[in-house]
């Protein structure tokens, strides 16, 4: 299933936050969206998943929804969004309970996704007992359980410390190599973008426009920290963003989130 964005423009009050975004996300591709803070990248992701509606433009799906996908467009949130009163397995179970399936099937799916994310021994733990990295793994397991066609990841690693972030990036790479999932990955971290993105969409400062789309041909598995080619891409991205980031930093917020 492919994803197509056409002429997305959006305003909050008088402030234009996104301007004429055209983008296509192909199957099995990770598209990273980067940009200075307040450029509307998270808003864009909410449009893609249908949590908000743009003023102009449309988000289109092409091709059939993969068989067995319970929730084709599935989010992974920055702050994990786990229910604190539910255990790890119950948090995964939550998103399956509204779908018609037997208890056994549900059990099997839960056991499967927990095994795939290395959480099997934490089934009964409550979110507060887990580290940030583990919480995000639970959120990823929950997302996998509904067999998404496209994963919408809203700064999934930004709330984690840098070591945990490295570990989870490796996990995501492993996961992609096994499952070839499609993803829109919003981040402000350039290292994440060059590590995980097949294509990197650079948005400008508010109103967000697509400034450039950088393609990285290298297989995800071959990328690692300290790779000079990736470092060069990252430097290039930073050159693009630096002035914008500085200007965005000096902006006075006027009630626009």
């Amino acid at each position: 299933m492919d994803l197509l964005l056409r002429g997305i423009t959006h305003r909050y009050g008088a402030t234009e936050v996104l301007s004429d975004i055209d983008l296509a996300v192909g199957e099995g591709e990770i598209v990273c969206i980067i940009g200075p803070s307040g450029c509307g990248k998270s808003t864009l992701l909410r449009f893609i998943g249908g949590l908000e509606r743009p003023d102009e433009g449309e988000v289109l799906l092409s091709g059939p929804v993969p068989a067995g996908s319970l929730n084709p467009l599935t989010y992974v949130f920055q702050d994990f969004a786990l229910l604190p009163w539910r255990s790890v397995e119950a948090n995964v179970s939550l998103v399956l309970e509204d779908h018609a399936m037997s208890g056994r099937e549900r059990e099997e799916i839960i056991a499967d996704v927990l095994a795939r994310t290395g959480l099997s021994e934490f089934r009964k733990a409550l979110p507060r007992q887990l580290s940030g990295g583990m919480k995000q793994r639970v959120a990823i397991a929950r997302a996998l359980s509904v067999r998404p066609a496209v994963m919408l990841m809203d700064e999934p690693l930004s709330a984690l410390d840098s070591q945990t972030r490295e570990l989870l990036m490796d996990d995501l790479v492993d996961l992609w190599q096994r499952e070839r999932f499609t993803a829109c990955y919003v981040t402000h971290n350039l290292a994440e973008a060059v590590r995980l993105g097949h294509r990197i969409v650079v948005l400008s400062r508010r109103p967000g426009r697509i400034r450039r789309i950088v393609e990285i041909d290298r297989d995800l598995g071959d990328r690692g920290p300290g790779d000079s080619e990736l470092d060069a891409v990252q430097r290039e991205l930073w050159q693009l963003l630096r002035d914008e980031a500085r200007a965005a930093d000096r902006e006075i917020a006027d009630g626009v989130a």
């Binding site: 949590l51 989010y75 969004a81 229910l83 998103v95 309970e97 509204d98 507060r128 007992q129």
Partner: protein, 288 residues
């Protein structure tokens, strides 16, 4: 290893520097004063019980020695004697069961309706716009002032007493519940929507548990209000009930019985608060 040695070498050098700074004043090394204490209550066992027992003992001693006149305040032992008579004559159960029945029915109904209306206000803009001003207008009315009206509406029997308790516990529950719903983390709701959960699932599995801490603290408040209103309602035209017993004792100047009645209320309040504490531990165990 080399770096370790290096840091050891740096140690004394640092100390020297510190000493040098200190010697600028008086040449003595002083520990940094600790400033971080206090503002953190720690549980101290048995002190509460000790204060309670000591106070009763002092009171008893005062009564026996004649410092406290029997007319002003009966001795604890006398109040206990009155309580024992109440138990032995079988009157205790009669009064208590009448009171408990009113309390349980009135409070349960008030709580359930309150949670329902609070949820409506929290979930539906129309209900919020329409009902919330009404709730705000009716909440501050002392419900006991409405008792005569309730007597006309629901009769002098159980109806008016239950209604008083019901209304008294309804309003705080409404306010606690809709406040709790408002405070549920919106990202959790958004998560539920993003996974395609049904509206009812979101309410039942995300909003209601999320509002539960607020609902339970509303529970505590409404339970105390219910006990206060129970006694007040029973003081107006009830044959049995702890409030009726206290009123009767008061009008006979049987202060020992009056104190026994008050002690029963106090224990009732403690039991209710203990039960709510149990409910909190059970329902909010996830907070740790």
């Amino acid at each position: 290893m080399a770096s370790l040695e290096g840091s050891q070498a740096a140690g004394p050098a640092l100390n020297d520097a510190g000493g040098g700074a200190a010697s600028a004043t008086d040449g003595v090394l002083r520990p940094v004063p600790y400033r971080g204490g206090g503002f953190r209550p720690v549980p101290v066992r048995f002190v509460g019980l000790f204060v309670f027992v000591a106070l009763i003992a002092l009171w008893e001693a005062g009564s026996r020695s004649g410092v406290i006149s029997n007319l002003v305040l009966p001795a604890p032992s006398e109040a206990f004697e009155a309580f024992r008579y109440l138990v032995e004559s079988g009157q205790l159960w009669r009064h208590l069961s009448a009171s408990l029945q009113r309390l349980v029915i009135g409070w349960t109904l008030g709580m359930s309706l309150g949670v329902a209306v609070g949820l409506m206000i929290g979930l539906f803009s129309l209900a919020r716009a329409g009902v919330l001003p009404l709730v705000s207008a009716l909440f501050p009315i002392p419900k006991i002032a409405l008792l005569p009206l309730f007597v006309i509406w629901f009769g002098i029997g159980e109806g008016s007493k239950v209604a008083t308790i019901l209304f008294g516990s309804f309003f705080p529950t409404v306010i606690a519940t809709y406040g709790g719903v408002d405070n549920v983390d919106r990202t959790l709701v958004r998560m539920g929507q993003s996974f395609g959960l049904s509206w009812w699932s979101i309410v039942r599995k995300i909003i209601l548990p999320g509002a539960m801490p607020a609902i339970l603290s509303g529970c505590r408040i409404s339970a105390s209000i219910a006990i206060i209103l129970l006694v007040a309602a029973e003081m107006i035209g009830a044959e049995y009930g702890v409030g009726a017993y206290i009123l009767m004792a008061g009008s006979l100047f049987a202060t020992d019985q009056l104190l026994a009645g008050v002690a029963i209320l106090s224990v009732l309040g403690l039991v209710v608060s203990w039960l709510i504490g149990k409910a909190e531990a059970w329902l909010l165990g996830w907070r740790g």
